[in-house]
Each structure stands twice: as structure tokens, then as C-alpha cells.
């Protein structure tokens, strides 16, 4: 049945010019995201989500409607079955591309989304399947979102908004919204990524959001906290051990044992750190600081390795008692 829909959607899309097609695909994907998160899909919201702006967004919606891909009911837009098939395919291309960028390039996290936005319209179905093959059929993209399978399956959104999470209860960050990119970049710069364990710290003003994320305290302004979705930990996800801290917080001359590489350390960087010996159980000693508070050098398994602060931040350690 889905194959019939896909074939139909292809003929519907084939009638559009390439530029129009990209814009239509953008609004369809935005519609799917709204559906997924159970937002109401208003026109302004869709334009912004698709990165198109209001005018172009409206035009693309009208085209989608004419092609039988979306329809409108009392100011709220929704996808038709055909439209959903197109949207799922575009979303699959988008999330697979983001995964490839995160795993195989050293591009900063803030650049993944923009590049995937370009690539999603250019990739053919065969290329997308090939990409999935070469990546080993990943299930989640680096933002924590599920990647639709070739058959178009992906699980229902899990978790809830961080702002509605009760205090003191441990949880796991399940998703970080990458729109708007400037705010996402702020979270990435602080080293906060999907997959990290956290607990909300009781704070004096109820509006502020203070978190204990993987043994590090972070105060998030509401606009940043709003980007984060969280879920309860799974059965085999234990709490962050008591007394743990980040490698960047170990004073010079002190030693620690590696507990985990955190989710912010991905792709080639993760393999490299594993190669160098930053594996759970390794003893690490902070040996040198560079002038101008640049990178620090750590001795691990007999070699001296220099890491920048943002990288040492992504290593969870248990300080050794002197």
C-alpha cells in the first residue's frame, strides 16, 4: 500500500520545477514535524520551520495543496497520505545526512542542519538507501530523532518538554531541537547533547531551569530549555555515579578514572579518543596546561595527549583519591 502511495507521490512531485519542489518538500517535512510533536500547524509556524519565510511558505503550501499532498482545515494544515509518504522520505534523507556529517566529518554541530537541508532535496531514493547501508542503518540521528526506515516506520515521539519535568527526578535528554540554529549552537557550545543524563535542581525562581547534567551544573535560560525534550531513563541506564566530574575539571597533577565518553564526543573524534585509550576504566592524569588557557595535556596509557577544553568536557571521570 505504501508503495502505491510512493508511486503516486512521485508523479505528483514530478510536475513541480526543482526550486518549487525543494520548497514543497520543506513545508511537507515541517508539517510532519508538527504532526510528530502534536503542534498545531499554522502557516507562520510552518514557514519558519521550513526555513522559508512567510511568503515562500504560503506559496509552497498552496502548491502542495494543488498537488494533493496537504490540505487545510480551519487554518490548520495537515498532510495527506501521499504527502506524508513524501515527507517521511525527505525526513529520512535529512536525518541520515546529519548522521553522516556527524560521524564522518569534523563539521561543527551547528552546521549539520543547514547542509542536510540542501542535501535532502538532491538525494535520490537509491542514494538515500546506499547512505543508510554505509552508515549501518542508524536508528537515531545526532539530535536524538528517530530516522525513518526504508519502509517509512519510525516510533512515536517519546518524552516531554524539559520545562514540565519534575525536580530532582533523574532523566535523559531525548531530543534537542535544531531550529532556530543560533540557539542550538549555544547548547552545542555548552556541550549539551541528546543522550545525556540529567536531574533538575530545585531553583529559587521557578522560571529558571537549573540542571545537573552528567555531573555538571548548567543554568539554562527558558529559551534554551524550551529546545530540550526529555524522557525517563531506560532500565539499563543508571544514574551518573556520585562524585563523578568532567575531565576538564580535574586540577593539574591529579588523576582520575574514565567512566564514559559523553554523547557530545562523536564521529572521528570519538574513535580517535577511544584509540588513544580514553576507554572506561583507563587511568588519566592531568599533566600540563598550555599557556593562555588553551588545551590541557593528559597522560593516558603512557602517552601524553593534548585536548581542548570542550573535548575534555565530554569525558566523564571519577577522580582518584590522592
Amino acid at each position: 500500500m505504501i508503495e502505491a502511495e510512493l508511486r503516486f507521490s512521485e508523479t505528483a512531485m514530478a510536475k513541480l520545477k526543482p526550486v518549487e519542489r525543494a520548497a514543497v518538500e520543506d513545508v511537507l517535512r515541517a508539517l510532519l514535524e508538527c504532526e510528530h510533536r502534536q503542534h498545531e500547524a499554522t502557516e507562520a509556524h510552518l514557514g519558519a520551520l521550513g526555513g522559508l519565510g512567510r511568503e515562500a511558505g504560503l506559496l509552497a503550501l498552496a502548491r502542495a495543496k494543488a498537488a494533493g499532498l496537504a490540505d487545510e482545515l480551519a487554518q490548520a494544515w495537515r498532510l495527506t497520505a501521499t504527502g506524508r509518504a513524501v515527507a517521511v522520505r525527505v525526513m529520512r534523507a535529512h536525518r541520515l545526512t546529519e548522521t553522516r556529517l556527524a560521524r564522518t566529518t569534523s563539521l561543527p554541530a551547528a552546521e549539520w542542519h543547514g547542509r542536510a537541508n540542501q542535501a535532502e532535496h538532491a538525494l535520490t531514493d537509491a542514494e538515500v538507501d546506499q547512505l543508510a547501508d554505509s552508515l549501518g542503518h542508524p536508528r537515531y540521528d545526532p539530535h536524538g530523532d528517530p530516522i525513518p526506515t526504508r519502509e517509512g516506520e519510525f516510533p512515536a515521539p517519546e518524552g516531554q518538554s524539559l520545562l514540565s519535568w519534575p525536580e530532582c527526578r533523574p532523566g535523559v535528554i531525548s531530543h534537542i531541537e535544531d531550529e532556530p540554529p543560533a540557539l542550538f549552537a549555544l547548547l552545542a557550545a555548552r556541550g549539551i547533547f541528546a543522550g545525556m543524563r540529567f536531574a533538575r535542581v530545585p531553583a529559587a525562581p521557578p522560571s529558571a531551569c537549573t540542571l545537573e547534567i552528567e555531573a555538571r551544573r548548567e543554568e539554562l535560560p527558558p529559551e534554551l530549555a524550551a529546545l530540550i525534550r526529555v524522557r525517563p531513563p531506560l532500565a539499563d541506564e543508571h544514574d551518573t555515579p556520585a562524585g563523578a566530574c568532567r575531565l576538564s575539571e580535574i586540577p593539574r597533577g591529579a588523576a582520575a578514572e574514565v567512566l564514559a565518553l559523553l554523547p557530545g564526543c562523536i564521529g572521528p573524534e570519538r574513535s580517535r579518543l577511544l584509540d588513544l585509550g580514553f576507554v572506561p576504566g583507563s587511568r588519566v592524569e592531568h599533566e600540563l596546561d598550555s599557556p593562555l588557557s588553551g588545551p590541557a595535556a593528559f597522560r593516558v596509557r603512557g602517552t601524553l595527549i593534548a585536548l581542548r577544553k570542550t573535548q575534555a568536557l565530554q569525558v566523564l571521570v571519577q577522580p582518584s583519591r590522592a
Partner: protein, 473 residues
């Protein structure tokens, strides 16, 4: 839930549902378990020789070399020392080689050629190609034989990674990668090698920054120009005993300016054309090892010195021919060189240089090494100085004093010297480097930027210096 599955096989359906229930990081857990297990096996089976005393010593050395107060001065002093060693040590062998190739062998060769060939062919071969090559060998070989081994020694000692470690913060601030310090260090030998070395930087954005700004590392072909001009124009201003120190100091200042310019350009690039955050940096700081001196000498002589010298000779032969031709082929009343120099002179003088220097830089696009020989040769031709047995467009070498007399006689001042040093730092990379940049980036745009950006900066800097100099004088 969004769409219905294609297959109806219950087993496949269950497998697909189970797929989503695996823990999210199970791939990571598998990898980490493999790494942890191999580390455990290695721990159990590999015996380490107790080198605790050496380790303690290395730690002390590291503390000094990466300390905020001592790290940078040590770095500067080591670099200045290598420069001074090169300048001071290259004089005598340079003069010896010049004596053999130019004073003894050249007249014999010329006489033989004149007797057996048409005059124009003898001029082209001996006065053009042979002399250009001989000049390049005598000017370049001695400094290279000192500079390259000294650098290779520092590399083998394990010092260069510490430089990258010390400087990473600066490079991070300007949006570049700490390993750019390593590609620059390579560029001090040869920019083409520095551009290739940029492959060690994973992030494409930061690799492009390293490639485009590598030209600000003074390459081997430009050191002799810097050293010669610094010695005859700036060193000469100092009392006799301090000539070497002043010359080395001013060359060091130009090299430092190059380092500063590469930071500024990286900063501008990472905020305009190559916008983005700086990526990650993990660098192994290897233990200090006593270098194997013989092997170092061998590899730096074979791999670097002979390679670079061969390249220079290959480019000097046709360039010598071109110089001889532009100096001897006439268009209406004058030679081609005359017309070119006359055309460029107004602009060149405005930026503190002269038309001859610009023409020499155009002729020397294939190799920076032949800039000074070209300048000297064109000066002789166009100012009608020196004389006697030297024909038009003939390169010759009469020692530092002779060169100084020749240049001052044709209107050079200390300003011309300073501007030439700056322009030698900031102008287009040689054609080999440009070709390497094109091969590495696969982009004409970046290749063009790498050529135009430093040239524009050089012209502006020289113009400002000339303006201030003339305003103050």
C-alpha cells in the same frame, strides 16, 4: 505507526519492532567493550621498562617549554637562533661556491661558448641559463643545508608538537586549528610542503584556512632574499660587530609579522568566507627523544635540500633564458625589459619599490629563489652600471658589498630594502605552491584567493610604509 509495513511476515515485523527497543547507545557500548578488552589484554601481556627517571625529567622539560612565562620566549629564542645560525653559517660556503661557479668557471665556459656557437645562442645558454642556475645554487644551497637539518632536529626531538600545543589557543581564537602551527612550520621550509601538510587537519573549513594562509610562512626560497637585503640595508646601519644580530633580528621581525598576518587573515576568513566554529583538537605530545643526528642529516639533505634545490634549478634554467631574452630582444628603440619596467615604475615607486623589482617578481613566479638574481641582472642592464666584460642581462655576483654598491647606485634606499622585505613576505606564492593548492582544494576560487590576498596585502602594507617613511623623512 506512521505508515503500514510492506511485509506481512510476522517474524520480520517483530524484528523491526524490536529494533527500536534496543538501548540507544548499543553500538557505542559494543565498541567500548572491545576497546576496554583489548586495553586489558595489552595491560596484562605487555611489560614496560621502568623509565620513571626519564619520565620525571621529561615532565620538568615540558613544564618549562609550556609554561606561560617561559614557553613563548624559549620558542622565540630557538627560532631566532636557527635563523642566526643559518645567516652566520651560510656566508662562507656561499662565497666559496660563488667563487668556483661564477669567478672561475664562468669565464672559461663563456669563452668556449663564444668561440663555438652563434653569439645569441652562447648568450642565451651561458649568460642566461648557466648564470641563473649558478647563482641559485650558490645563494640557496648553504642556507638550506643549515636550516633544514636544524628544523628536522627540532622535529625529531619532539619540540614541534609542543609549539602547536602552546599556540593552539591563539589559533582557536581566530577560528583556525592548532595544527596550523605545524603546517606553518612546514611552510618555513617550503610552502608547497606546508599546503600538503594541511591534510593533517580534518575539518575542511580549517584546512582551507591553513592552506590559504600558509604563504605567510616565509619559505626557503625567500629566506635568502630576506637575509641578503637585511644584511646589506639594515645590518649595515648597525656598528660592525652587530651586523649579524641586527640582520637576524630584522628577518625575525618579518617572520613574526608573517605569523601575525596569518592569524589576522585566518580571523577574517573564519568570519567571512569560511565562517564557522573551530572544531576539535587532539594532539599527541610524543616523548622527547635524542635525535639520530646522522639519519637527520641524511633525510634532510636528500628529502628536502636536494629536492628543493633540484626544483629551483629546473625553474632557474628557463627563467634565466627569459631574463636574457627580455633584456636583449628589442621592441622599437628599447628592450622588452625597459618597456615593462618603465610601465610599472610609477606604481612601484609609490609603494616604495621600483619597476625592476616588480618585473623580477613576475619573471620569478616559478620560483622565489631567483628574485634577487633577476633584480640584480635587470638593474645592471637598465642602469648601465657595472660594466666591462658583462653583457646586458647577465647575472653576476660580487659579494654583499658589490651588491650594495650596485643597488644604492641605482637609487635604492633603506626604504626600498624594507619594502622589498615586506613584499617578499606578502606576494603570490610560487607556481608550484599554487598548483599544489589547486590540487589540494580542487578549486580555482581558493587558488586565486591564495594568490591575490597576500599580494593585495603586500601592496597596501608597502604603500603605507612608503607614505609614512616619506612623510616623516
Amino acid at each position: 505507526m506512521n505508515t503500514r509495513p510492506v511485509e506481512t511476515d510476522p517474524l520480520l515485523r517483530e524484528a523491526r519492532e524490536l529494533r527500536w527497543q534496543l538501548p540507544r547507545d548499543f553500538n557505542d557500548r559494543l565498541t567500548e567493550a572491545i576497546y576496554a578488552e583489548s586495553a586489558r589484554i595489552a595491560e596484562r601481556t605487555v611489560a614496560r621498562a621502568g623509565a620513571s627517571q626519564r619520565l620525571a625529567f621529561q615532565r620538568k622539560v615540558d613544564r618549562v617549554l609550556t609554561n606561560p612565562w617561559t614557553g613563548f620566549p624559549v620558542m622565540g629564542l630557538l627560532f631566532a637562533f636557527v635563523l642566526w645560525l643559518t645567516i652566520a653559517g651560510a656566508n662562507v660556503p656561499s662565497a666559496m661556491i660563488a667563487d668556483v661557479l661564477l669567478d672561475k668557471f664562468y669565464p672559461v665556459l663563456r669563452a668556449a661558448a663564444m668561440g663555438s656557437m652563434p653569439l645569441w645562442l652562447a648568450g642565451l645558454l651561458v649568460d642566461g641559463m648557466y648564470l641563473a642556475t649558478a647563482w641559485v645554487i650558490s645563494v640557496m644551497l648553504p642556507p638550506m643545508m643549515i636550516f633544514f637539518p636544524a628544523f628536522t632536529l627540532l622535529e625529531d626531538l619532539g619540540y614541534l608538537p609542543r609549539v602547536a600545543f602552546n599556540l593552539d589557543r591563539l589559533f582557536q581564537k581566530v577560528g583556525a586549528h592548532g595544527k596550523q602551527a605545524l603546517t606553518m612550520a612546514m611552510g618555513y621550509g617550503c610552502n608547497a610542503a606546508g599546503v600538503i601538510a594541511a591534510r593533517v587537519i580534518d575539518s575542511p573549513r580549517e584546512r582551507l584556512i591553513a592552506i590559504v594562509t600558509n604563504n605567510f610562512a616565509l619559505c626557503n626560497g625567500r629566506w635568502p632574499t630576506q637575509i641578503l637585503i637585511a644584511t646589506i640595508f639594515l645590518g649595515a646601519l648597525a656598528p660592525a660587530g652587530l651586523t649579524g644580530v641586527v640582520a637576524a633580528g630584522s628577518v625575525f621581525a618579518v617572520a613574526l609579522l608573517g605569523f601575525g598576518l596569518s592569524l589576522v587573515c585566518s580571523w577574517v576568513l573564519s568570519r567571512t568566507l569560511l565562517r564557522g566554529e573551530s572544531s576539535t583538537f587532539s594532539l599527541e605530545l610524543p616523548p622527547y627523544r635524542p635525535p639520530n643526528i646522522l639519519r637527520t642529516l641524511y633525510t634532510s639533505l636528500i628529502d628536502r635540500t636536494l629536492f628543493v634545490l633540484w626544483r629551483a634549478v629546473v625553474f632557474a634554467l628557463p627563467a634565466g633564458a627569459v631574463i636574457w631574452l627580455v633584456s636583449n630582444v628589442h621592441a622599437s628603440d628599447h628592450t622588452l625589459a625597459y618597456w615593462a619596467v618603465a610601465g610599472m615604475n610609477p606604481f612601484a615607486v609609490f609603494i616604495g619599490l621600483n619597476g625592476i623589482i616588480l618585473l623580477a617578481y613576475i619573471i620569478a613566479i616559478p620560483a622565489n629563489e631567483i628574485v634577487v638574481p633577476s633584480i640584480l641582472m635587470l638593474t645592471v642592464l637598465l642602469t648601465g652600471q657595472a660594466g666591462g666584460e658583462h653583457a646586458a642581462g647577465v647575472m653576476f655576483e660580487t659579494g654583499d658589498e658589490g651588491v650594495r654598491a650596485l643597488l644604492v647606485g641605482s637609487g635604492w634606499t633603506a626604504l626600498t630594502g624594507v619594502c622589498l622585505m615586506i613584499f617578499s613576505l606578502c606576494h603570490n606564492p610560487c607556481s608550484t605552491t599554487l598548483y599544489t593548492i589547486y590540487k589540494e582544494t580542487q578549486s580555482l576560487k581558493w587558488t586565486a584567493l591564495s594568490a591575490l590576498m597576500p599580494t593585495a596585502i603586500g601592496a597596501v602594507l608597502c604603500g603605507v610604509i612608503a607614505f609614512l617613511w616619506r612623510a616623516l623623512a
